[in-house]
Amino acid sequence: MRIEPARRTRDMVYAVRDIVLVAEEAQRAGKDLLYLNIGDPNLYDFRTPEHILDAVRDAMYRNRNGYSHSSGIEEARDAIRRRALSQGIREIRDIFVTTGASEAIDIALSSLVNPGDNVLIPAPGYPLYSSLLCKLDVQAREYLLNEEEGWQPDLADMEARVDDKTRAIVLINPNNPTGAVYRKEFIEGVIDLCRRNGLVLFSDEIYDRLLFDDHQHVSSASLADDVCILTFNGLSKNYVAPGFRIGWCIVSGPQETTADYLAAMLKLTRARLSASHPMQYGIAPALDGDDSHLQDMIQRLESRAALTDRMMNAIEGIRCVRPQAAFYAFPSLEIEEEDEDFVKALIRETGVVVVHGGGFGQKPGSRHFRIVTLPDEEILRRAYERVADFLQAWPSRRK
């Protein structure tokens, strides 16, 4: 006899972490692994700014080790509000601090959808959303990002997928896994779709400070005050502290539109008591600081993205849209086989660990893989050389 798990876990796949199992196998087989798969800057040559660490340490010495208010500490929420206002976010209704942006997204989805509802998520897109919807027994509907348009959302495809059971649209901007930054007119198009259909816009902006080549990030909630918009952000990426698990949600829009939904979200925050308390003391110093770590960080990320663009596009059978932000690239592969088979073989044969495009959703028939561009240029170069050699020898490329 076996304990039968809940149905919600059955269809849950998490390619980013599942690929780790293949990598472990390759390591046991003696391969020299090059990790281009984990979006964790601390594993590479990036460090949490010192003043954030000092703030957490001081909080612990001041015995801030008990629970915080369920919505988060006052000084952190004030700093988040100041930052949001400076980005032009209007009609802010509330802010709550969470255990990573992951928890904010979980709370926001759980408070909104009933079984039978659906939510529009990007393909390709970060897999947390489809997993959480799976957990809620709710359908994830994928809308396409348009590779030909530098991975901007395909508004026509998005609109075609909205029906009367649709409750929300998820935008990830800057995008994981494509590295695209959305242009204002596309965001306005999405907001308009939300406006016409009474939908909530989930705007995941966790990479909004990591911008290259003078690209500008426009916060969705700065473009409308008549739509319910949830803006997700946190310390994980911009402030190089993913292991702190500190994120937040900014709820904006008309009071009467958002009130019931907000009350439901706050109920869920109360049930789980609070986010980590001492870590929250890192928020105000981070947001109110001089961001001096960013210049150097962006410089390194930008040159790694440029190297990726250059080397990937030099490989026959690969095309790569140059990333504009964040630390990912999502090159396409001209092969006949599934990209999952390609990637698993790549890991086993060469030790280069990437994640297959299928793990993020993609246009049917297309093949991709995601690269994390955080490693230094030396490692990236070695990895890309191995990818080039491996692809050349790949069965459907030899014909």
Partner: protein, 409 residues
């Protein structure tokens, strides 16, 4: 147009935090607040042991600020496993480190129940479980804890609640809100029910080191190796660090029985990436350390528990079972009217903040309220004086008659 909230949130009530709003109102009215409502030792002057703080600060300095493995830091999991085995837990299959015991419970339930399934929860019991089941659109069924038997679970009543859709029984031992520690016989009887009905036992043992007057805690998973038992624990209470949000689950039982369920839990743990990383570096030092903070902690809490019981029992119309562990007491009240109204007025009139029994899943008569026994002796004494005065005035305004008293549940 208003955005409709999901149905799953409609039934969620969290009285612990709702009384806070009343307290704010009382403060505006100029009352001097006495907090007997929050199970957070740090706000009452208890301090996180130095070794935990130092380990976490060292981890931050050493750049353990990225994600950890989804299941938790290897060194922490090894320490948890070692401690579990030394306490007699049998057939440990997996240890998962989580964002507080709360997340461990969330994962254990989310990986198990489908909508329409039901889970047995104690009445009274800590409200997180009912909120999570509501979120999962699963049904809460309450079994009685028996006040006349020192708040041990009523096994017969528990058995009556089980049907074909029951998936798990939740035990909270030592108990929040009663402070009761369960006897070996009680736990064995619950395990028998799980065995007979193929149920998972979720054993919440987050207070298992906070014990008074020679009472011993028996881990459920030390009593069986043929039932799937998920033991919940963490740094929050035993190690005075609730704000670090560092908990874990230990799943034990036959490998074949647990495997699919465990896969479900592991998947959920991968989705949310990892628990807070630096704090996980404090787990091994905490569990393997000298535990020097515990004897004085238990000593002071046991004196306060005795004082609470004695002082409350001296008030006419109040009865209180003396707590055997943790930091709560759950006195009963002989009053007319709803406990919710009594507590609301108590807070607004006297500033003494407690939580009504119905917040812990107990409806009807007699009424109850939960007090947290963490505050200092003088605060407790002052609070009980105010409660005594207020209760006297309440009973004069709302005469208590035996006919008003219908049995709870």
């Amino acid at each position: 147009m208003s955005i409709r909230a999901a149905r799953r949130t409609a039934g969620i009530r969290y009285a612990n935090r709702e009384v806070v709003q009343l307290a704010e109102e009382a403060q505006r009215r100029g009352r001097k607040l006495l907090n007997l409502n929050i199970g957070d030792p740090n706000i009452f002057g208890f301090r996180t042991p130095e070794c935990i703080q130092e380990a976490m600060i060292r981890a931050i300095r050493e750049n353990h600020n990225g994600y950890s493995h989804s299941s938790g830091l290897a060194e922490a999991r090894a320490a948890i496993r070692r401690q579990a085995e030394s306490r007699g837990l049998r057939k440990v299959q997996e240890v998962l480190v989580t964002n507080g015991g709360s997340e461990a419970i969330d994962m254990a339930l989310s990986a198990l129940v489908n909508s329409g399934d039901n889970v047995l929860l104690p009445a009274p019991g800590y409200p997180l479980y009912a909120a999570l089941l509501s979120r999962l659109e699963a049904e809460t069924r309450r079994y009685r804890l028996d006040e006349s038997n020192n708040w041990q679970p009523d096994i017969e009543h528990m058995a009556e609640q089980i049907d074909g859709r029951t998936r798990a029984i939740v035990l909270i031992n030592p108990n929040n809100p009663t402070g009761c520690v369960y006897s070996r016989e009680t736990i064995e009887a619950v395990i028998d029910l799980c065995r007979g009905h193929k149920l998972v036992l979720i054993s919440d043992e987050i207070y298992d080191r906070i014990l008074f007057n020679g009472h011993e805690h028996v881990p459920s998973a030390s009593l069986a190796d043929d039932v799937c038992i998920v033991t919940i624990n963490g740094l929050s209470k035993n190690y005075i660090a609730p704000g670090l949000r560092c908990g874990w689950s230990i799943t034990s039982g036959p490998a074949g029985l647990c495997e699919d369920y465990l896969q479900g839990m592991r998947k959920l743990s991968r989705v949310r990436l990892s628990a807070g990383h630096p704090q996980q570096h404090a787990i091994a030092p905490a569990l393997l350390g000298a535990q020097e903070h515990l004897p004085p902690l238990c000593d002071i809490l046991s004196r306060r528990a005795r004082f609470c019981a004695e002082r409350l029992n001296a008030i006419e119309g109040v009865q209180c079972v003396e707590p055997q562990g943790a930091f709560y007491a759950f006195p009963s009240l002989q009053i007319a009217g709803r406990d919710e109204d009594f507590v609301r007025e108590l807070i607004l009139e006297t500033g003494v903040i407690v939580v009504q029994g119905s917040g812990f899943g107990l409806q009807g008569q007699p009424s109850y309220f939960r007090i947290v026994t963490l505050p200092g002796d003088e605060v407790l004494a002052e609070a009980f004086d105010r409660i005594e005065d207020f209760l006297g005035s309440w009973r004069r305004r709302h005469p208590f008659t035996e006919e008003a008293a219908a049995p709870a549940l």
